[in-house]
């Protein structure tokens, strides 16, 4: 049983927690507010917090001037594509390691983890040159491929830890009842694995959506996802705060919502199961 807290304690800790939470969230809130201001008001000193002329015209301008949808679609294709392909490759591998482990399984897992430790900048040069020579620069295929490989170790690891938790007795029972491997997969394993599969996909989508090393270096316009699109607002001659804010709000909103649903999985996935 938890210790009984006095009312006073609850009031103090609640107030403190809300204050700190608000401060941490504030930059995002401030950005969302700025996205509904006119450029003049976004720049104004003293700033107006709520009593300004609310407008949605920035959102329309962002689409018109810089084709937001094009970049959003790129983000969806790159994040979604790399996640799906990584899942297709990782599911059999994780399944195999979780259900018929050998002596080398542990070493194999650790080796996979170690590939994730390689700093991307260490292989930037060869990847850039290969991409240039085979015409993959600024192509969706190239980005899907590289993000898929980059996140594959995390996907295998997460799936492995989830599959590990499926009780093996159930599989034995199914086998005793004469289920083939195919049936075992479809009727026994899949339903039990779905929550793990879903959270793995979610985390991977978030990581791929926000990836900003390969996307910045390997794409310019055609294949540029939202990370690169937003970076184009960094040029000094184009200081449009309200529009930057509108574009940014659109860029982070979907992933923020997904992220909020996947807090628990985030801990597990990013610590490779070391903290649950």
């Amino acid at each position: 049983m938890a210790r009984i807290a006095t009312n006073r304690q609850v009031v103090i800790s609640t107030a403190a927690a809300w204050l700190v939470g608000f401060l941490i969230f504030f930059p995002i809130l401030w950005m969302v507010l700025a996205s509904f201001k006119t450029e003049l008001e976004a720049f104004a000193i003293p700033p107006s917090f709520l009593f300004f002329h609310w407008t949605t015209e920035n959102y329309a301008t962002v689409q018109e001037r810089s084709d937001y949808i094009h970049h959003a679609l790129n983000s969806i294709i790159i994040a979604g594509g790399s996640t799906l392909i990584a899942m297709l490759i990782a599911i059999p591998a994780a399944w195999s390691m979780a259900f018929s482990p050998t002596k080398r399984t542990k070493d194999l897992l650790l080796w996979m983890l170690s590939t994730k430790m390689m700093p991307p900048v260490g292989v930037l040069v060869p990847i850039y040159l290969i991409w240039r020579d085979v015409g993959l620069l600024d192509s969706l295929t190239g980005l899907v491929f590289i993000l898929c490989l980059g996140n594959l170790p995390i996907v295998v690891w997460m799936l492995f830890t989830y599959f590990k938790e499926i009780p093996r007795d159930i599989l034995e029972a199914a086998r005793m009842d004469g289920a083939t491997i195919g049936r075992e997969l479809i009727y026994v394993l899949t339903p039990m694995a779905i929550p793990g599969l879903a959270s793995t996909m979610l985390l991977n989508l978030i990581l791929a959506w926000n990836e900003a090393f390969w996307t910045l270096n390997l794409s310019t316009l055609n294949a540029a996802p939202l990370t690169v699109f937003i970076a184009s607002y960094s040029s000094p001659e184009g200081l449009f705060w309200a529009k930057l804010s509108a574009a940014s709000t659109l860029a982070i909103a979907p992933i923020l919502v997904l992220g909020w649903f996947s807090q628990k999985q985030l801990v597990r996935g990013l610590t490779f199961g070391a903290v649950k």
Binding site: A17, A93, T115, M117, P119, F213, S234, L266
Partner: protein, 290 residues
């Protein structure tokens, strides 16, 4: 019961993942090593020639390397310190009885989901702009001179932005660990007359030792290669003040087109990361036994 057939099946299922990762690891790395021994500049094609360790000598004795190594260490160290210390405090606070804790949690972890280019630009413009930024306005309210962040304290600005992005990660992991701490143990300590501070030092902190180590190692791996935040705010400047190793290699490769030197730098980055990875892999590996 593993039959021969299931063994073969298991290997077949494993093959694509292992094969792809193997190629992904070996081919670019081998090429990086190869390029690192060449004089190779993209602006000056067809003049490639073998120069042995010349690039390493050039890269390691370049004053820019020492500056960027120092910047990397300052950035990684400061962000680690800020996120771990604040993360512990924040996790302790959120572990208290708080009304509407789940909403506070949502607010606290939100920055982690913001893409790096967005957080860097929002901080740089909306908050840290020396004239129209919110911080400047607040400073003026108190009669202070606003700080021109990206000219006078560019590294501090980057540190603040990156810490804001990683504080949620540290908090979330430490909070998860705190919540698995046995309440009875704490109660027993309190019954024995332990104060809040000694409960924290002797019970809570030892319990957090492992998650803190994990946070430090994982953050280090990502922080060693901070790139987008520098790319969109300072471009490594003014001078070399915010150039870290990742950014230095990028600029040698894709701005100066010096493939040889950038490759040598890349290998230095790989070695640095591997030192950290060595410890992380051991900790995670120990966990696999359990």
């Amino acid at each position: 019961m593993a039959t021969r057939q299931t063994q073969i099946l298991a290997r077949t299922l494993l093959a694509p993942a292992v094969g792809l990762l193997f190629v992904w690891m070996i081919v670019p790395l081998a090429l990086t090593i190869y390029f690192a021994t060449l004089h190779y500049n993209l602006l000056d094609p067809e003049t490639e020639q073998f120069v042995g360790f010349e690039n390493f000598r050039y890269f390691l004795t370049d004053p820019a390397f020492l500056a960027s190594l120092q910047n990397t260490l300052v950035l990684v160290g400061s962000v680690l310190l800020l996120t771990v210390v604040l993360g512990i405090l924040l996790a302790l606070l959120l572990d208290q009885p708080v009304l509407g804790r789940s909403i506070v949690r949502l607010m606290v972890i939100a920055p982690f989901f913001v893409m790096p280019t967005v957080s860097a630009l929002v901080w740089k413009n909306l908050l840290m702009h020396p004239v129209s930024g919110l911080f400047a306005w607040i400073a003026k309210l108190f009669g202070l001179t606003p700080i021109d962040w990206f000219n006078d304290a560019p590294m501090l600005a980057i540190i603040l932005i990156v810490s804001w992005q990683w504080l949620p990660f540290a908090t979330l992991i430490l909070l998860t660990a705190l919540q698995s701490l046995d309440e009875e143990q704490k109660e027993a300590a309190e019954m024995d007359g332990a104060g809040a501070l000694s409960t924290f030092v002797y019970i809570t902190l030892p319990h957090l030792a492992r998650p803190i180590t994990v946070v430090i190692l994982i953050e280090t791996i990502f922080l060693l290669t901070v790139f987008a935040e520098i790319f969109v705010t300072t471009g490594g400047g003014p001078g070399l003040q915010t150039t870290n190793i990742a950014f230095l290699i990028y600029s040698q490769a894709l701005i100066q087109y010096d493939v040889g030197s950038a490759s040598a730098g890349g290998l230095v980055a790989v070695v640095l990361a591997n030192i950290v990875a060595f410890f992380l892999v051991r900790i995670v590996g120990r966990n696999l036994e359990a």
